[in-house]
Amino acid sequence: MIKIEKLHKSYPIGKDSLHVLKGIDLHIKEGEFVSIMGSSGSGKSTLLNIVGLLDIHDEGDYYLNDQLIKDMNEKKSAILRNKFLGFVFQSFNLISYKTALENVALPLYYKGMSRKERLKVALEYLDKVGLKDWANHLPNELSGGQKQRVAIARALVTKPKVVLADEPTGALDSTTTDSVMDLLKDINDEGMTVFVITHEEEVAEQTKRIVRLKDGVIISDELTKASKAV
């Protein structure tokens, strides 16, 4: 599903450049539940941004769904994002003046679905995350856990190949963290590839594979107990 070979990325800082990713090799198959761990500055967010087509890499090859990602323009990557990827952010990133339902329906708008149809689909997904009754509430009327569940519903609504979650529990307390992780597990059980970035061991342990990053290189890549249990 995701295949990365000898990936390099550096950011210019003044006259110098900061080498963030120094040759990453990573292969994630369909249906995997992977977490990327690392302290801040290890390059994990950069990796997620590149995988999420929000940023472009300098060297190496990146295949998404067997398609080589190269020479992307904004339009192409926007379409690919819409088609293959679902995003969950640490700060939820819901649009404040739209209701939960409208937020969930937004990716379908960019997909070109009719309003009636996409509100119907969005409501299904809100139901799936247990927030059907909150459909017409604005984000500021929801709790943090509820917001993140709306965001997950929004990430799922286009039936993407991969869900990318950047510190999905970073802004949540432990109870809501568990409920969000349970939700991600359920999604993975249904066969969706889930890619989580975190710096919390407890969160990482709930995934099936942990990839540890340090200073732009992978230092370990192992399966967890959770995966062996299945």
Binding site: L54, E74, A78, R81, N93, L106, Y110, K111, R115, T158
Partner: protein, 414 residues
Amino acid sequence: MKFLFDSDTWQEIYGSIRKNKVRTVITIIGVLWGIFLLVVLLGAARGMENGFNKLFGNFATNSVFVWTQRTDTPFKGFQEGRRFRLTMNDIEVLKSEYSNEIKLLAPRNQTNNLLVHNFKSGDFRVSGDYPVLDQIQKKQLLYGRFLNDNDILSTAKVTVISEDMYIQLFDKGVNPIGEYLKINSINYKVIGVYKPSNTIDFDGDTAYIPFTTYRKVYNTANRVDWMMITANEGTNIEQMEKDILLTLKGLHKVHPEDKRAFGSVNLGKEIGKVTGFIIGMQFLTWFVGIATLIAGVFAIGNILLITVKERTKEIGIRRALGATPKSIRQQIILESVFLTTVAGMLGIIFGSLVLFLIDAAVSNNDDIPLINPTVNIPIIFIAFATLIVLGTMIGLIPAHMATIVKPIEALREE
């Protein structure tokens, strides 16, 4: 163009406008004010033009008036300050020498007299005229007719009086035609009543009697007080005025360079000044209106630029969810066009309303030369189209700004 008719597009725009109510209103006022000024000023200029046209309307605008004063230069043995009079001989000479240029020529004699009918009386101007006067300055007759050639030939004692005279001298409801009126103790038969024009008028309330009758009654012999001349189409009136004055100077032994001996007014020239003023005003109106419009449109661009800056994060989210740069651009441009269009429409509505109120306030007042202040529909359409084009163009700037930021940078924005 599908996105134009998509209810979602409009919902997006509504959402972002609702979010910034105060700014939206202030922005709209900028453009609204511009087009409002344009409409009101153009309407007022048009109203003035109409007003002046009406003012000059009943008058042949290619007219020249000539009268005599006193000489200011000694000539051929005469001292300066000499008084002299126009004569019927001058009229004949002018008529034959300038037969190509002169269309109509009306010699006139005027005085003030007491008019008496039964027990009512009033002091009015009395004017000896030829029927040709009616062609130079159209008389609007309420009753009867104006003087005719027969009256001139027969030196008939007939008079055409004004509406005011009729009201002052006659009982209500009495048919004045055929009634007799004493002017300077001589009976005249009333043959017509006219309504003085509320436009340019040199006579006011005047009782017109035949020129020949006037000459006989007031014993004016050959003398002529003044004359009105209108020129044929295509005649250079200024040149004609100069030539006529020169001829008259020759006839009356006045120095050719004498500036005071003859008084003359060239109505065309005077009207030209006013017309020039109105054209200048219209030009100014366009200039001010368009400049204000542009300022307003720039204000919209400015506001949108700020809005885009503030919405960087939202735009980043949208792009992460699959919004193409094109769809983002479309939305912002449409927002700009929408704001300018709404502002433009409101401006036109308010402008028209003000014109309507002005019209209602002054239409019954003849003292203010402002008639039917309107703006042409094509002009409105052109202004409106310009507004939409400008709105689109100015929207391109923030739209571009919204899409050059990479989604990842936009998402990082807090």
